[in-house]
Symmetry: C2
Subunit: 369 residues, 2 copies
């Protein structure tokens, strides 16, 4: 881990002071903002804790692109191959955003707040500028803003009990990828059953930075009986769980089918969107690579800052874009696009690490069980 | 300085291996890519060295947005209030990019490569997505790509002699904010007299990542007689020099007039661009704040990660967005928007630092002499 030089350009969040008090040691930068990534504990300790208890995560980097106005639904639909007319108010929809070639631009969660109001909770690219360009170019009647919303994730099997103790038992009725409204300090706040782990939990889309420290403290104190700890998206858990990271597992070089999201793509011509012709062609021909898990042996692998080639014989058939040691499987695990001829589970492969070592392993399904 | 967690999403550059060999200790993240920010030396040592000798900087984060095609010039013109028809092939134009309200979206240097080919050398926002959105929305006939160009800056008073020793004396004829072509390993490469310092120098827009390490080594070895060192944009030097950083000194909350770039904005109606009406209104009414230098006393100030209020009495009249100790002036220096009634040089102010201390100082012109 190298140092990160701070500046105003890399924005702090309403919770940054809290994570500093909690002893944060490392950050990443997403959407020009700080994402806590390391505390005094190890990734392995956090992994076991997350699977058993509950954690509080500052995921403010999941910025909201708010699109409102008479043409809001039309603009969002134009950006994604998923049929958003099926979304009701209260739904969270995962929507791939693609370019004219079908390449991934972002993979936000869309929250439908009203027929003419949407939040796109984004991964690491300036989707606001893209949406603004489209709207200006086409002369659409929309307003596009980044509201003062900073998301706090409460993740882990004890999240529901913890949040019910704070906000009441009604939150137990929120379905997966649905949201509802909770009251906090006299304000209405959006809470969804969602989050960047497979351990269950919720995300509070806090509207109003000034309420951030108090929300953090409220949940922290209520969480003590549940053995709450401060955490962050856990690399072991998300790789095992088959959760992908834009910029890591996918870039504009990849289409939604390659990351297994073909099910969200309407290619029968019934809706129109940017990149439709490209996706129809891909759907007809089939993809030439698709994301898979990779399990491989040897000592715990280092951080994957640069993709690691995945080989069969001398042929490169993929590249691991996120990898780490799994203490549960006692093996290294990774996520990799794998060429079509080699993507069956069990396929023997080799991984070429940056230290020059070659590790034996095999392709596996995602999630990695 | 906290830690930075590495991943593929935060892209390495062709020179990252070289800066690691040179003992890099800290990075920033710009355009989803690593910008070296600290080495074994101090910012002060680097400052004195930069003013006297020559440095090699990895500024690959200055990504190029390449716009080509029949509508390329029309698209670029639509994005900026500067009249780009005055640019000739071989020119570098600083062009503010603004939104419909006149707010700054980016402030790239435009390189005109041909009548239908432009590079926009960008600051920290995804201008490519904005340009793509505009083009898709309006149905313009352009191609927009990020070419494999990674810029190496050679900065300091000895830069010209050093580069002439490598590429020949013709490079001495390149004018300020002009470019020409040099030969390297049988390839033609673009070199401009430009850079993010006031000490003179050049930037090589290396096209082809595979040539990066060799270009670095070639310049390094030729630079030894000139006392070359590895460096990065120097915070002391750029604050003194009145060079601004997008995301620090300006955001979408600011218009080009506020950063003193009204001279680049055509508001007489002779050209059309996004935000024209907003800029015409601002031009007619005058700005209510404008960027200035601030000099203030006391011990050396910390890193400015969150703006520091600038006060006259109890009234906040500005905020310092970048600040540091100047070893030359033996005072703290900063850059701040200052309200109209207080922006005259000499105005007494106070700066409120995050440790609670209040420092006495005054407004000054930029550059700070």
């Amino acid at each position: 881990m190298d140092g990160l030089n701070m500046s105003r350009r890399i924005r702090r969040t309403p919770y940054t002071g809290k994570v500093e008090e909690a002893g944060v040691r490392g950050f990443s930068v997403v959407n020009h903002m700080l994402l806590p990534k390391a505390f005094g504990t190890t990734v392995e300790e956090d992994y076991w804790h997350l699977r058993k208890y509950v954690q509080i995560w500052d995921v403010s980097v999941q910025r909201q692109v708010q699109i409102t106005g008479p043409d809001a639904a039309a603009l969002v639909q134009w950006m994604t191959p998923r049929n958003i007319s099926k979304a009701k108010v209260g739904d969270c929809f995962y929507i791939p955003i693609i370019d004219a070639n079908g390449g991934m631009i972002n993979d936000p969660v869309m929250l439908k707040l009203a027929e003419d109001q949407f939040w796109l909770s984004i991964a690491d690219s300036d989707l606001l500028l893209y949406a603004m360009g489209l709207a200006l170019g086409r002369g659409m009647d929309v307003e596009i803003t980044e509201p003062d919303v900073n998301t706090l994730a409460i993740q882990g099997p004890k999240a529901e009990d913890l949040l019910a103790s704070v906000f009441g038992n009604d939150i137990r009725n929120i379905g997966f990828f649905k949201y509802n409204w909770i009251e906090f300090q006299g304000t209405q706040q959006l809470m969804a059953r969602s989050g960047y782990s497979r351990q269950g939990g919720f995300e509070i889309y806090l509207n109003g930075s000034h309420l951030g420290p108090e929300l953090w403290d409220t949940i922290w104190e209520a969480g003590l009986p549940f053995n709450i700890s401060v955490g962050c998206p856990n690399l072991i858990e998300r790789i095992e769980g088959g959760l992908f990271s834009y910029g890591n597992e996918m870039t504009r070089e990849n289409n939604p089918f390659e990351i297994g999201h073909g099910k969200f793509c309407v290619t029968d011509g019934s809706i129109d969107y940017i990149g439709r012709a490209a996706l129809q062609k891909i759907a007809a021909e089939g993809v030439t690579r698709e994301i898979r898990g990779v399990v491989f042996g040897g000592d715990p692998c280092p951080t994957c800052a640069k993709p690691w080639p995945v080989l069969v014989g001398d042929l490169q058939i993929g590249q691991i874009t996120s990898g780490i040691w799994s203490p549960r499987l006692k093996k290294n695990i990774g996520q990799s696009m794998i060429d079509r001829n080699f993507w069956e589970a069990g396929q023997a492969i080799k991984v070429a690490l940056p230290d020059g070592s070659i590790r034996q392993g095999n392709v596996t399904a995602l999630p990695i069980s």
